[in-house]
Symmetry: C2
Subunit: 445 residues, 2 copies
């Protein structure tokens, strides 16, 4: 089963459907990896081998009975531990929720089940999906952070402990760990995936996203999660049925990109900068380098006002009753969040719309924006999950972003390149991402 880890998930699903593979066999392969690597990577906070094999066996029996199967039938998927599940705890990375279970599944858990997926377990998250790091280590170098806050979800995919995982992003919590761990991380447009039943940190900034090995894998997973949900009023009606096909189709145009080095470029380590320059050179016909537009410089400030106010609102009970059990980072964020004025908050919300109105003009002439995912490869040590400086713009405007593991930085550690698209243009966007992934691999062959 060693080939399993290089198979596209669609192929795994087809093999299950055709009876060439069983879900039990697949789960056993991942369990083997978990038994080997989890003691070092520490990516799981809830994993029950016996339960998983039971579910896999049920799934196989279901298929053998000839009943209808979904596009992920028998495929195991890992969930960031802020996603509510009624049959496993949802601890959100804080001692304040130790052992707590939700009374019902999050909407996306039900969507996964409808698609036939098997919930493998829950992965480690930073404290309340903010900064306080979990114990997880980077599978490529145990002395380094895997990034956060979706630390475990990125790490399990990187270490072949799961084929697919779900995470979330409010600042840079998908793109950054994907880059550090060398996997694909995709944050769809704001409003495509329901947050109903998932820990809320910020209504206007929280996004659900996905991790996989390739653009195709994340497209397959994302499409089963995209659905209007009346219990998350931010969700929109969106036709994602053809997401996988759209991503596999060669674009009918020669894609043109803007590369934004941004003001944080100087913080990127030297080896990583060289890798980006090499990448830009390889695609010189397609890429133009621009300075970031002037409105970008206000985004981080406004992102902070919204994020910290919302943390203060959503975690006020914890702050009032058990302040000392929160990390220092969370305590300071909340204390700042309590000091902004309503006028600043309203201005910040308005800036989401205003900045997007400027941003989307890019797509009159270009098919995507490129930028680093992070200030380089994974930072040393586990005390910080790294900087989200390259990610907040896009979370703020709610536009689709994907981390593609196409480069290497110092010590040959993985380094992602970030592609950003236009809001609600996710199908074309994934097609362009797939094109970049394919061409880039061709260059390196």
């Amino acid at each position: 089963m060693s080939d399993l880890f290089s198979l596209p998930v669609q192929k795994i699903a087809e093999n299950i459907k055709d009876g060439k593979l069983t879900s039990v066999d697949i789960c056993r392969s991942y369990i083997e990896r978990i038994n080997k690597f989890e003691k070092d990577v520490k990516a799981w906070v809830h994993f029950d081998e016996k339960l998983l094999l039971e579910k896999a066996s049920e799934s196989d029996n279901h298929r053998r009975s000839g009943k209808t199967t979904g596009p992920l039938h028998g495929v195991p998927v890992a969930l960031k531990d802020i996603i509510g599940t009624y049959d496993m705890p949802t601890e959100c990375g804080t001692v304040l929720r130790k052992g707590k279970t939700q009374s019902q599944n999050a909407e996306i858990v039900d969507l996964l089940k409808s698609a036939g997926a098997i919930i493998m377990g829950k992965t480690a998250t930073s404290e309340l999906a903010y900064l306080g790091p979990p114990k997880t280590r980077n599978p490529h170098d145990y002395t380094r952070t895997p990034g956060g806050s979706s630390s475990g979800s990125a790490a399990v995919v990187a270490a072949h402990m799961a084929p697919l995982a779900i995470g979330s992003q409010t600042g840079g919590s998908i793109i950054r760990p994907a880059s550090y761990c060398g996997v694909v991380g995709y944050k769809p447009s704001y409003g495509l995936i329901s947050r109903n039943g998932v820990l809320r940190t910020s209504y206007n900034l929280d996004h659900i996203g996905v991790f996989g090995k390739t653009v195709e894998d994340v497209a397959l997973l994302a499409k089963v999660l995209i659905k209007k949900d009346k219990y998350d009023p931010a969700t929109v009606y969106y036709s994602a049925d053809n997401m996988l096909e759209a991503c596999k189709k060669e674009p009918l145009f020669d894609p043109r990109f803007i590369f934004y080095k941004t003001d944080s470029w100087k913080k990127v380590d030297k080896k990583s900068r060289e890798a980006f320059e090499y990448f830009i050179k390889s695609f010189k016909k397609n890429i133009e380098i621009f300075d970031v537009p002037s409105y970008f410089k206000n985004i981080n400030k406004y992102h902070q006002i919204i994020h910290e106010t919302d943390l203060a609102n959503n975690f006020q009970e914890y702050y009032k009753k058990a302040k000392k059990k929160l990390s220092k980072e969370m305590q300071s964020a909340i204390s700042r969040g309590l000091k902004y004025s309503s006028k600043e908050y309203a201005e910040a919300l308005d800036f989401i719309k205003r900045s997007y109105e400027s941003y989307n003009e890019v797509f009159e002439d270009y098919h995507g924006v490129l930028s680093p995912c992070s200030t380089g490869v994974a930072d040393k040590g586990l005390k910080s999950t790294g900087s989200a400086d390259f990610n907040k713009f896009w979370s703020f405007m709610g536009v689709p972003a994907i981390s593609l593991p196409l480069l290497q930085g110092e010590n040959n550690l993985p380094l992602g390149i970030q592609l950003v698209g236009d809001k609600y243009d996710d199908l074309r966007f994934l097609g362009v991402a797939r094109w970049l992934e394919k061409r880039s691999k061709e260059f390196n062959e």
Copy 2:
């Protein structure tokens, strides 16, 4: 032409299309009324008789040439003077904008023109669509307020100085003046009509709405205004093409209503309360009286936090540079708006969603909510435009509301009854409104 004022607008438009009436004749009839009543009602802030007749004549020539005509071809429509027009001033009821003209038309002005409507002129509004009253008097009793802030738009329709008018509502600025003036005022669901090019007072609370003589008339006008507009991100894709037909169709069910007297019921004058009680009795098979749900009591507070913060943000330049030229009401609202915390504002925004989640359960068993439009008939004097206590709930939640002029209060002055529906259910909602209007008239025959 005296019959003109009792013809449905659809019929007027058909007669124009068939050449039985000309737009010039119709405009002359309204000009006659304006010349007779405007000196007392003072509803217009910009009206140019010559320009109107020129436009009407052009419109007639266009039709005679056999070119395509829209559903409102040749029909004059009045605009609240906060709606931007490039060929007339847009003064927004404040000396600070005296004589100021916009560089382009509001989106809805272009939609009206595409539908063939003729922009008649601009109607008086309270200062910046808030509380400071204009000079307009109630056409039914010149010693009384017409309500506000869409004072002129309600008054011109009531006095037969225009067949249709457009207004806006942030608290109760359509429903209340419609009730006081004895016309139909309809505020569609939040997000159906673009506010692009219209004075912004509060992004989350501002609604465009319409005035006419009957439910059919407002349905016809509203349907040409409903369109997704990328420059107003709150707008949604919505299919309103059949709005007029939907409203004219007899419901396939026997409508059931909840009547909410609300906590403000005790403020309603005695005669008006009797009129409501009589109405409830006449529809006793269809109406059940309930206490308002407990979450209602927080809405006014949260509405105020959002509204005043947004006023502080949107009018900060006026406040900084010309504070004394603002009304006392506006000055105090802005000074309060500067004092709320971001946490309160975020809580208030969140409550929009939370209150709606509770509210919409009503529609599992009922087809509409009924309530007074106001604390009774129009108040005496012109210093206040009356209370919006019965209107803020619905503006806050963004649900459709309509004022139906079916009752009379003290001194036989008009008294509207307010019907409220479910969000985005506007087509069925107008059908139910039409049913109420029709049955109510049958009872009184």
